[in-house]
């Protein structure tokens, strides 16, 4: 059971990170067709993350402080490293300062905090 819980937490972290990366990249571009694509990808990752969240107890209420901090830190680190990689390769207009805000927002939306 614990093993399953850890599995779902890891998968939740992966998909939440992808969702936040998509959300921040969406804001960095101006092409409407791409914005739409990012939004769709954000929704796909977010829906997957929701599915994993529904498998982690307690369902319907926020996770323990220890769990939620663990998830928050992992997601922030992953998002930052993905974005920094893109900035180093010339990706423009990425707002790295918005990571914590976006992560906190998504964690609230999904019921982690």
């Amino acid at each position: 059971m614990t093993q399953n819980r850890n599995k779902f937490i890891k998968l939740l972290i992966g998909n939440l990170s992808n969702s936040v990366v998509h959300r921040i990249l969406e804001k960095s571009i101006s092409k409407e067709e791409l914005i739409d694509k990012y939004r769709k990808e954000f929704i796909a990752s977010f829906e997957l993350a929701k599915r994993y969240r529904e498998k982690i107890n307690p369902i319907g209420t926020q996770l323990s402080e220890k769990n939620s901090w663990f998830i928050r830190n992992k997601v922030i680190n992953r998002v930052v490293s993905e974005l920094l990689l893109r900035i180093s390769k010339g990706y423009e207009n990425i707002d790295i300062n918005s990571v914590e805000f976006e992560v906190d927002k998504i964690l609230k939306e999904i019921g982690v905090v």
Partner: protein, 267 residues
């Protein structure tokens, strides 16, 4: 309320007669005329279904496809219906039936999905897009290409003329496959296969090759030294597999990020 009427032959123009005693359709009102498609047409039209990348399909699956099409035909307007995904694989190991409904009209996705599920007792995954988005997707998205490479369609799918690489779209698809590196131990065979297929589809697309399921499977064998069956059964040696997978992932990622850099310099 609606009126069903028959077209009758006229001398100069054909006409449709409707009763004088009616509550709707006043004189001078504009109306839309469209054919009332009879259910039997589906059986008659069956010979006209288009099979792409499929050699053989179990008769029971054809019956299911006919039922799906009959139901959609009765309940909504469409330009094409495309059945794709694992439902078309040999055997009965599919989780759901993937349906791509091409329509320019607004369709209630959840309602249609739920009613099809209730009718057939099979999980349905419905994707609704307009024709323009599908064409654009086929030109720029390896996943669309692989989806269409093996399918059953009600109408013929026009071949793709252009192959456009949009690095930002590929970047976002590739990101999904990173989950495999970080979560190798906890993913099951099917989940691993999906992420590997995604990476290989991007890899082929970047080479300018038309992406098909057959080509993806061939490339998996060649580059990752594992058969699709082994992957689906989760019989992979982690160390050697991840080494090859990471190499491929990094190569694709480097190409994409270089492409993004080049594109931004061009502006």
């Amino acid at each position: 309320m609606e009126i069903i009427a028959r077209i009758s032959k006229g001398s100069k123009m054909d006409q449709i007669y409707i009763p004088k005693q009616r509550n709707i359709l006043d004189i001078g009102e504009y109306v839309t005329i469209k054919p009332l498609v009879l259910e039997n047409n589906i059986d008659r039209d069956y010979e006209k279904f288009y099979f792409y990348g499929i050699r053989k399909l179990e008769p029971i699956k054809i019956t299911i496809i006919k039922e799906i099409i009959r139901y959609i035909n009765k309940n909504t307007y469409y330009e094409n219906i495309i059945i794709t995904g694992s439902f078309l694989d040999k055997g009965f190991n599919f989780k759901d039936v993937d349906i791509l409904l091409i329509s320019r009209e607004k369709v209630n996705k959840h309602l249609l999905e739920n009613s099809l599920e209730n009718k057939l007792g099979i999980k349905i995954h419905l994707l609704i897009l307009d024709n323009k988005s599908v064409r654009k997707g086929l030109e720029t998205d390896p996943l669309y290409q692989s989806m269409i490479s093996r399918c059953v369609a009600v109408k013929r799918i026009a071949p793709i003329n252009k192959h456009k690489i949009n690095y930002k779209i590929l970047d976002l698809h590739l990101l999904k496959s990173k989950i495999l590196v970080d979560n190798f131990d906890i993913l099951d065979g099917k989940e691993k296969y999906d992420l590997i297929r995604n990476l290989i589809a991007i890899h082929l697309f970047l080479k300018g090759i038309k992406v098909t399921i057959a080509k993806i499977h061939k490339e998996i064998n060649l580059l990752l030294k594992h058969s699709v069956e082994e992957i689906k059964k989760n019989k992979i040696d982690k160390k050697s597999f991840l080494k090859k997978y990471k190499k491929l992932y990094n190569e694709a990622s480097d190409k994409i990020l270089k492409g993004i850099k080049y594109d931004s310099k061009q502006k």
